[in-house]
Symmetry: D2
Subunit: 349 residues, 4 copies
């Protein structure tokens, strides 16, 4: 049994962490902080938790966090890096669900997040928490940068191709047409997020540039070991009138070798032992609702035209795309079964 | 460990039963039938189950069902009663999620369901499975009529008043204005149920008469021990453009005694030991999303005007209103902890 | 051709007024104000208007408003009453879509809206703009208090009963269980209004008290000529996960005379010449989508039990419940055909 | 004033045609047929039409259709071609909203629609009704094949590039990632279309092949005058949980010339005189709700990476993508103002 703290427990990733951790057999959530709600019971704000916890929000108290084995930051960008050094020094593991430890390239971080990094040396030692691809490093890590939701779909959607020993795709041809439910934008009082602005509507956003683009580029470089070839890939996110769910439709041009390879078999083999990545049979269509609330990413492959591959990757943005993957990383760091607390079945319908 | 069969596993209550039972620590689902899908893997139809089961649909085979300890009928009305006698004789417990064992009054059953009852003597021995109100009888039962979704909200919403030793309300004044998500209508290819007919729309239905009216009347008579006073209560259901969720707004006129009683305390006391009924603090508003996927019913009370009480009761129609309550009844019948397999937290947002 | 000003053109009633007035054959919108968006083109904020207008927002300039024939206030409560006196003096007609001119009872206004009234003498001369019930007075009015959305459904739903020469109902028995789409709460950056808090969810709100209660009471008193009997009627609003639409389910106990009367005929006769009120045939269910975008209110009646009447009244909260009725009032005040600019057909599906 | 017939008036394109034509100043709808609803009033099926028409459905009677000036077929594929010859002989103009007159390539028609064409010679003389691109031919046509909804977005989204005198794009690089609301699938009692299968969900469909692919290929060949280069473009449709609305995100690789051209200016010039195509300013995001109910297609352009263009094209699938464009074609054929009956403003919110 470990004790866990959650910094920033009033957002959607915070309450999702609680939903998972309150049912985790080896975890005791002992600290839950909020700048604005200190003293309030969490089940007063989120009645779904009534009967499941007596936790109250408290002000952020570093000493209390240092007493935890693991601290999750479900905060805006820039908070975790203020406290990571001190927590690491106290042997408290840190999992940041924001972007502070996602980009090793400091210039990119500063450009896209508009702030200087507070602890570059901690960043350097931190591990990017895409569990399936960095498992061994995560087990040894003290600080985890939990991946962005979109980048998770892209990396798991492309990894089998990029890890192959022969060149199967033309890397610069990658186009990611991504779609997310509204909860991906968080729990904020913002005009653009209100119901009547989003229901029965569909649109693209961030077409000219999105913070997940540099994260995707850096990640694909790391996975493939290739530099510079991904800089100009296209990433276009869209907003879907649904609460949870994310689907990326990824287009790649195949090389001649790629066109002749059995890509379905390649993917099935690559993920054969992965519990949370599901390669569906040929001609399947992964629906976001099939993973609603579940720590699962489903992939399907199509070759509708010669030399062209279409990859569909679906997940719940709040689970495999955020809180679930964070718990998966915690499980790896703490030596628990990787699926501890994560074997819930998706809520369908 | 018991073995369980599900008859009719292609509807929403069927797949919800599977979601719950596949995670139940003392249950092995061994039979799953479908008239139309025999031979097909269930996770092919419901990809949310991929990775969680290898079950295939089979044709209904009574011998296979008799080998089960418990059989759930998640079928249209009229199926369970065809098989109940034989199953009971084989010592197999039966839980019917349709209406075959909800009404003891045969004339009402025939009037509202348009069929003769196939086993009146089994019906007579069967128990109405409102777990909180009939717990002791359920423990002894062989056949359970699992309550309708609307009637569950009404009974749990009114029971503390009806069980009180003094007359707190005017029973004939009861008005139930009920609202349900669309999944309550099941999984059927019907024009009235398609997306574009229901989204961004709200309407009443069944105002002139609904099958749950006689069930509510009979149930309130049983709870209160009073005959004839509920015959003309009003029950008006409405359809909400959401998947899951049900809220009943119940209006009652209070007697002078009722007006002076501390009804909030009465409810809190009545349900003090009930894990699945949550009496919220004064001035709360139970939201359906707070119980999404959870076996929970939340109640709030208001007295906005003298002598008038407004009771709000919210549940997930597929869980506490159907599959969850069925599992709760199974737990009682089999001597398991009442919350075995049922302690999931609602999915919010 | 008249010139029209709109004060507060950034909310949903503002853009709905524009949708209607830009197609009105006798209207030129010449002024459109906003505290925050002065200088911005309105079609930049609301791209649905691209190609239909070159209007820009301007700061509120009373002289510019005085040059208009009619000024609509689509503002928060308390703005119209600051300018009404001056506009009336300049012979400019005022239609307030907020509450400044809805309640003649100053004490109630101050209690529910938390402000002193700025022009009680103008209020006294103003007319409550329920077009069908106050048509003759509206034609003569200089200042109109446009009714609240809920009160519109209640008044049109009950008027035939209350205007009857014999006592058909027990007035104190009235219960209004009302349901509204989310746009009724306006266009505001508020946490409670964001998509993920409202989608796939249903709840009651304002059960302990809502500003439309005193408006309903005063209106029913005026319609019926009866005092004091409506003070304790129940009004419980609910929030539906849809953009537009409102349905009130109204319950009343009938007197013996009411029970014997042909109420369907009474309603049909009462509204026989009303273009915007549709009494549907017996056993109909008015769906909100049938009036989406249309200035129409549909009514259906049921007598499911002896002595009890259920009235269903559906409208688009932004049209007949707000902007459409405001235009209807303008038409009456200006001597235009009552349906000028208002004969659009509901958008279904 | 012309008389118009609608064959197949019970689907969504049928009722949308009625919404538009009942408000068209030069049209009288005189015939409305349905195989299943003959004798029923149309406003009984679609209460949104109550008060706007007394039309009843009738059986399909060719003589009655021949008496019309224009007949719209809002039927399944294969119906219009059974009657076109006879109607043309009677000087009745035919506008088919299904696919009978979309593909000149008979082999493709038979492959994708599974039927032989019934009147190839009529097909040869028919005109593809993309109003903006084929205006002059449409004016002379007797038979119109009204374009598919997806192909409309693709053609209008790409035409300025394809019509340019220099090669601006690499035609074989075109990728269309398209998204549609559920009404695009029509009004059918189908399990896959019910509310609980589609709400709060997102998925791709038809990835391996979709009937609109050959239509797009043929249309792009006609626009560009180039053969064979579009055969292997990618078209991947997705289903959005909304009623109306369609957005295509189109990706193209630019040639060197294309990369240097001012494409924003090219598009603005190309559509300068088009009332129903709106080229939005740079960095805009066309939202589907901005055209809800309106005969409008909005386009925005992005160049997020060198040599790569992203085109966003949004429309209401039932209006510019179906019934609205059909009326636009009728206006052209009959010499009416092109926007007669089509100047409604989108319903936002």
């Amino acid at each position: 049994m470990i004790t866990v703290g959650i910094v920033g427990g009033t957002g959607y990733t915070g309450v999702e962490l609680l939903r998972l951790l309150l049912r985790h057999p080896q975890v005791q959530v002992s600290v839950l902080t909020s700048r604005t709600e200190a003293g309030r019971r969490v089940d007063d704000m989120f009645p779904s938790l009534r009967g499941h916890t007596d936790l109250q929000y408290s002000d952020l108290d570093v000493e209390a966090l240092k007493a935890c084995d693991v601290v999750f930051f479900a905060t805006p960008h820039g908070v975790a890096m203020q406290h990571a050094r001190e927590l690491v020094a106290a042997n408290t593991k840190v999992i940041d669900l924001a972007a502070d430890f996602r980009l090793q390239d400091l210039a990119q971080f500063e450009k896209w997040y508009g702030m200087q990094h507070a602890c570059p040396e901690i960043l350097q030692d931190s591990v990017y928490g895409l569990s399936e691809l960095n498992r061994e490093k995560i087990k040894q890590a003290n600080v985890i940068g939990n991946p962005g939701c979109y980048p998770t779909t892209v990396q798991l959607g492309l990894a089998p191709l990029l890890k192959a020993t022969t060149a199967l795709i033309q890397p610069e041809s990658i186009i990611i047409d991504a779609k997310s439910g509204v909860s991906g934008a968080g729990r904020k009082a913002s005009l653009g997020m209100i119901y009547s602005e989003n229901a029965d509507n569909f649109k693209a956003y961030g077409v000219a540039g999105h913070r997940h683009h540099p994260e995707i580029v850096e990640a694909l470089e790391n996975i493939s070991g290739q530099k510079d070839v991904f800089d100009h890939i296209l990433f276009v996110p869209h907003l879907v009138p649904m609460i949870r769910g994310m689907l990326s439709t990824i287009y790649v041009n195949l090389t001649e070798e790629g066109d002749q390879a059995d890509l379905q078999a390649l993917y099935e083999t690559f993920y054969a032992n992965e519990q949370f990545v599901d390669v569906m049979p040929a001609n399947s269509s992964p629906e976001t609702r099939s993973v609603r609330g579940a720590n699962q990413l489903r992939i399907a492959l199509y070759k509708p035209q010669p030399n062209k591959l279409v990859i569909l990757a679906a997940q719940d943005n709040l689970v495999k795309g955020a809180a679930g993957q964070a718990v998966q990383n915690m499980n790896l760091m703490c030596g628990f079964a990787e699926d501890a607390g994560l074997n819930g079945i998706g809520l369908l319908p």
